[in-house]
Amino acid sequence: MLMALQAGASGVSFTPVPGLLGSDLLRWRPDFRVVDDPCRPGQKVVLVPAIRPEFALLHGRRADIEGNVVIGTMYDDRLVAQASCHVVYSVETVQEQGTCSLAADEQVIPAAFVDALVLVRD
């Protein structure tokens, strides 16, 4: 699923995914196709369609008035934000310049990926 989201984020229609051969997932997902690997003769590879969610509802720590959002580094929200058509972020505070100083476990989701902010008050 992460690779399918990456394909969505990269604007391509499918992605090869390693493994999966021999799994019953292939029996129940006709949209997962097994093809000859064009770059590794004699080997099979599974192709999985890209995922482009219509909406992503995500939560960040804080944002600035430009719409840049600060989040932690542990999760894959960045990929989800890149792949999704519309992104709504809830945040706890909105600052004039919220993104200039980051803690070691923080990253910025650029405003270009964010359609709307929702301020969550205590």
Partner: protein, 225 residues
């Protein structure tokens, strides 16, 4: 089980620990504090692990073939080492439905050594053929509450490596839903040493309590009783 897992790990190995895996996590930390000080691991939420940016970076790392060890489990595990994390019964009319693969169908084939673990060692878990093949491959071994099972690559099937103290070849076979041949050197799993138990109690559980407080509490009260 944690000791059996710890002894299976080597120094310098790069080890991934998935969600809901407190026993492998205890085994990894035990190994790191005993014989494998340069082992590197990833356990989301635990200080001292490798801080990947998201799961995507971790999966890419594994897919490039750089991950030495990962731990998987299954609702069912079959004689070929295949695991089922999807459904019991028919896929379209299941008796029970479970959360799904969690990337296991990818990891099983890209990780150098996959160690399977399961606390329940009964015929309903260890079945001749899983109801749904979530993932398959060649496991390094299977660690359960009763035994350590190895994998005979030539025959493509699980075999009995060792039975834990209090078990026997016959008791493990009776708890397994398929024919389980023994390795020629089958014997008892060496019991945890006093030193292993001390490191678990004094060093590993305090660290692990941040991620698995319930597990640590159960282990501590079991040790007292």
């Amino acid at each position: 089980m944690a000791c059996a897992i710890a002894r299976a790990l080597h120094d310098r190995e790069r080890v991934g620990i998935g969600v809901n895996s407190p026993i492998p996590a205890a085994g990894v930390l035990l190994a790191q504090r005993r014989h494998a000080p340069r082992l590197r691991f990833r356990l989301p939420g635990l200080e001292g692990g490798v801080a990947f940016v998201g799961s995507k970076e971790f999966f890419d790392f594994a897919q490039r073939g750089e991950l030495d060890v990962f731990f998987l489990s299954g609702i069912q595990i079959d004689m070929s080492g295949r695991i089922n994390l999807h459904v019991l019964g028919d896929y379209e009319r299941p008796r029970r439905r479970f959360p799904g693969a969690f990337g296991s169908a990818v990891l099983y084939s890209v990780v150098r050594r996959v160690i399977l673990f399961r606390t329940e060692h009964t015929p309903r878990v260890f079945v001749p053929r899983v109801d749904f093949v979530t993932a398959g491959g060649s496991p390094d071994r299977v660690v359960t509450s009763r035994a350590v099972l190895g994998f005979d690559r030539a025959a493509g099937r699980l075999v009995l490596d060792s039975y834990h103290p209090g078990q026997s070849v016959d008791s493990v076979r009776a708890a397994t839903g398929f024919e389980l041949p023994s390795r020629s050197d089958v014997g008892e799993t060496p019991p945890p040493t006093a030193e292993e138990l001390r490191v678990l109690r004094d060093d590993v559980y305090p660290l692990l309590a941040a991620v698995y407080p319930g597990f640590v509490q159960r282990m501590r009260s079991a040790a007292v009783n």
